[in-house]
Amino acid sequence: MMLIINICREKLHYLEFVKPIEDILKSLNIPFRTMHYEELDKKEISRADKVIICGTSLADNDFLKHLDCFSWIKGFKKPILGICGGMHILGIVFNGRLKKAKEIGITPIVFKKSFLGLSGEKLVYALHSLFVSSSQFDTYAVSKNCSQAIKHKTLPFYGVLFHPEVRVHSLITAFCTEV
């Protein structure tokens, strides 16, 4: 079963950042369970076959104050996809650092290597003021300002800074069905 992790501080943001991911999984007939990161326990984490950590709003960095809730990632061996804030979390857990780079709206990016079925130039939807840099991840795609897609050097952990639930559903489909 897929575990979807909601990192939004505001309840209403669930509809904007989590439900669109749920809708994509429903269209693929993939069973999932959604939980807020503050509700996670060892049992739920161990039941998950894969994990998607969703993004949140531009003004919401509350999850960065609760990084202890994500310490389980270091011992997790199954695939994780981190989207925007979820990518920040993946990078930080592996000693990464956050840096400033604001991008809002349609943003051109370039994939240097194939990443979850994507390659070459793409137009994606960005909504972030930070990005993460970690030496334990390889960069697969970049925009003019920062890394946009990363993968852990040895573990099946993928991060995208842009929002694939907007315009790039195929990336989520590839993560669900091909990883």
Partner: protein
Amino acid sequence: MISFLIIIPDKKGEFYISLIFICLMKLGILWSGGKDSAYTSFLAKKYGYELACLISIIPKNQDSFMFHPSSAEQIKKQAKVMSIPLVLKRTIGKKEIELIDLKEAIKEAKEKYKIQGILTGAMASVYQASRVQKICNALKLECFNPLWQKNPIEHLHDLLKDNFTAVIVKVSAQGLDNSWIGRILDKNAIDELIASSHTYKINPAGEGGEYESFVLNCPLFKHKIGGVN
């Protein structure tokens, strides 16, 4: 802010009364008068947010990139039946100038009604959503788009389920002729829109500007408002 009294038992079996204050986030709604801004407001209220004011921009230009050309008088009627104050601005409706006017209106709402966030009915328009995000970011406001990426057919069915009465006031798409103007978005109309979306590849919820709607009644209204010319 809402407040209420609760009675709490202590370990000795005695009771004491406590006054609890809960601060709800105050939101300004980008209000066009149509079904999407009304439904997004309904959702925000359902999730426990305070609808502090409506913000409406009336463009002179019929082909505004950002706003529906609505009637100021009709929007005032909607604000009245919701008992929510209205910040109303007019714009010539030219690209970029209308964004400056929108920013000014949101700034006014922030100062006057102490809003902490903006609520929009954006579903798929990256152009509109990203411009509002930029304004909110500049004014240090949260931005909420509860209909973002929502399936348009699911949205239309939710409008019916939650007792929204909206009328079509403008059409601009193949498959939608002038006979649609004045039609209520009831089950038959929705079924026809869904059928047209398959035939003509239009968005059945009108997100691509295929049609504009105006809400006559919904759970936020104290009573139904009169018809629209």
